[in-house]
């Protein structure tokens, strides 16, 4: 295990997440992709704290905060998606076309 492997893993996860967030049609799929991006940042924080940092406690603490905040964000996102589903009756992002321009 070196820092390079961890960073490569995190960057790979981030790219997969970003690709998924851009290409997925299903809104739940997009939310899962966003989770991947957030967790890529978490791996970075923990890896830098372990191998590199002068202040090695704040990195893991930051990722604990990120996990909590990501949970809040996803709770709000899912609530909004449920309320959107009641109106539009589908989860396809391309069918949300009332507002454009």
């Amino acid at each position: 295990m070196t820092l390079g492997y961890c960073l490569a893993l995190a960057f790979g996860l981030f790219v997969i997440g970003a690709y998924g967030a851009m290409t997925r049609k299903n809104i739940v799929g997009i939310l899962i992709s966003i989770e991947l991006m957030l967790n890529a940042a978490n791996i970075n924080f923990v890896a830098f704290a372990h191998f590199h940092a002068t202040d090695s406690t704040s990195g893991p603490i930051f990722s604990a905060f990120v996990i909590a905040i990501a949970a809040c964000e996803m709770a709000v996102a899912l609530a909004i998606v449920v309320s959107m589903f009641r109106r539009h009756k589908n989860l396809d992002i391309d069918k949300l076309r009332e507002l454009h321009g």
Partner: protein, 481 residues
């Protein structure tokens, strides 16, 4: 008289909790609304009793009160207060054909928590506080946009907002993780030292690019602006106004804190990037505003262009950038809220379009005049506040010697003037349908609306005729960081 310096922050948090508690105790919603706006005024008064000149930190150095933070606190609380007043009509009569919105106490509490998040951003001394504050200032906005559950457009707008917003949060967080890896610490002081000692490190520049992309979304900078018209159009009028003022001010404070704090050593190298973003953003905003017919969508494009103007000040030195941005944010908030108050007024039963303004100046000359003053201020016509604000913003860029850029900015303000004059033409010149004129004739202003519009008009005029207000802000900021 000396008061504890943290009192306003604690009072604001207490106010939010108290509003939720009053709701649990089944207190009448109109009473809760009164508690909210009186409480916000009380916090504003307490805040004004704190003399300038502090630079202190609490909680292990993570919570900091500086002069910039003090002025931005006043700004955010003022903005929350005006939004509270603006939101009243949405809960009493509804807008654009929808019935009154429900859950007023929760709405007001969410507004106050967003404001507290914005205050956390301007108090931060390390990346973790900054990140938590930014999220607290963003997450409640997602559901505030979706507040009116009967409105299909609102839920569509909120879905787009939450998906793009979370993506941008993840991007910014990824940038923060690289910044932590680069500096080995989360504290701004340590990051600043690391940046000064190795300003060309690739890790640093990757981090800066990710951070810019993340915050560019919140500030509606050029490649990340496309969400704004849809979300602003779908949300209710008070939330649109709040998004365009408070949320944008949070993002610009974030940039000021980063660019003149930890990244101060590479500010000169950042200038080309900022110039590029600023020029592209204002051009796109002005071009987009040209062909709009709906008022909120127009204000979204206008606020994109305004974000470009504000960013122009960040190419200058720290002192002038801070003071001009603070002053411009105040003038921008006054004029923006003035226009939104009138937009909310004409759309009580009708669609909120340019056409619904027709005949406003003939039927209600005072409202027509207020609209003209608000729009002139946004466009930057001399006697009103927006001109003085823009003058200071561009003066900051001129101090760094970017004259070619400033000529480009000047051309852009002229294009912007054309866009604002289109709205003014709808209110003052156009003779549209008889029904719209008739509806404008029957406009009824509640006391809240009348008083708010009068006060905001006076503030826009006053801040323009008395430019020493801007000098005062400069003087306050001169004490320290």
């Amino acid at each position: 008289m000396s008061i504890p310096l943290l009192l306003p922050d604690i009072l604001l948090l207490g106010l939010g909790v108290m509003i939720l508690a009053l709701d649990l105790a089944r207190v009448k919603a109109s009473l809760v609304w009164n508690v909210a706006w009186m409480g916000l005024i009380a916090v504003l008064v307490v805040l004004n009793l704190i003399p300038a000149g502090w630079d202190r930190a609490w909680f292990g150095g993570n919570w900091n009160l500086s002069n910039f933070g003090l002025l931005m606190r006043e700004f955010f609380i003022l903005s929350a207060l005006v939004t509270t007043l603006l939101a009243r009509s949405n809960f009493v009569r509804g807008e654009e054909g929808f019935g009154p919105m429900r859950y007023k106490p929760e709405f007001l509490a969410a507004l106050i928590f967003v404001t507290f998040g914005a205050i956390t951003v301007v108090s931060s001394k390390d990346l973790l506080t900054l990140f938590v504050g930014l999220e607290l200032a963003t997450i409640p906005l997602y559901f505030l946009v979706a507040w009116n559950k009967e409105n299909a457009k609102a839920s569509e707008a909120a879905t787009k907002f939450v998906l793009l917003g979370s993506t941008s949060t993840a991007t910014m967080l990824f940038g923060m993780s690289y910044l932590y890896g680069f500096a080995g610490s989360l504290r701004f002081a340590n990051i600043g030292e690391a940046v000064a000692s190795s300003p060309t490190s690739p890790l640093l520049w990757i981090a800066v690019l990710f951070l810019t992309a993340g915050i560019g979304f919140k500030l509606t900078l050029f490649p990340f602006h496309s969400w704004a018209p849809d979300v602003y159009d779908g949300a209710s009028t008070p939330i649109t106004a709040f998004l365009s003022v408070s949320s944008k001010a949070t993002a610009i404070s974030f940039l000021i804190i980063m660019v003149y704090g930890p990244l101060a050593a590479i500010q000169v190298q950042l200038q080309p990037l900022l110039i590029l973003l600023s020029a592209a953003t204002m051009t796109v905003g002005n071009l987009g505003a040209m062909k709009q017919t709906r008022l909120r969508r127009f204000m979204a494009w206008s606020s994109i262009a305004q974000a470009g103007y504000i960013l122009a000040a960040l190419t200058g030195p720290a002192m002038s950038a801070r003071s001009s941005v603070v002053f411009y944010l105040f003038t921008y908030a006054f004029s923006n809220y003035l226009v939104f108050f009138i937009a909310s007024l004409v759309s009580d039963r009708r669609e909120q379009t340019f056409a619904s303004l027709t005949g406003l100046s003939r039927q209600k000359p005072w409202l027509g005049a207020a609209l003209a003053i608000g729009l002139f201020s946004l466009a930057g016509i001399p006697p009103v506040a927006g001109f003085v604000g823009k003058f200071m913003l561009f003066g900051s860029a001129a101090k760094a010697g970017h004259f070619a850029f400033l000529i480009f900015v000047g051309v852009n303000t002229v294009i912007g003037l054309y866009c604002y004059l289109q709205v003014l033409k709808a209110g003052w010149v156009d003779t549209g349908e008889e029904a719209q004129e008739e509806a404008n004739k029957n406009l009824r202003l509640s006391f809240t609306e009348g008083a708010s519009i009068t006060l905001l008009t006076l503030l826009v005029l006053g801040a323009g005729i008395a430019p020493w207000l801007g000098n005062n802000i400069a003087a306050v900021l001169q004490y320290g960081p």
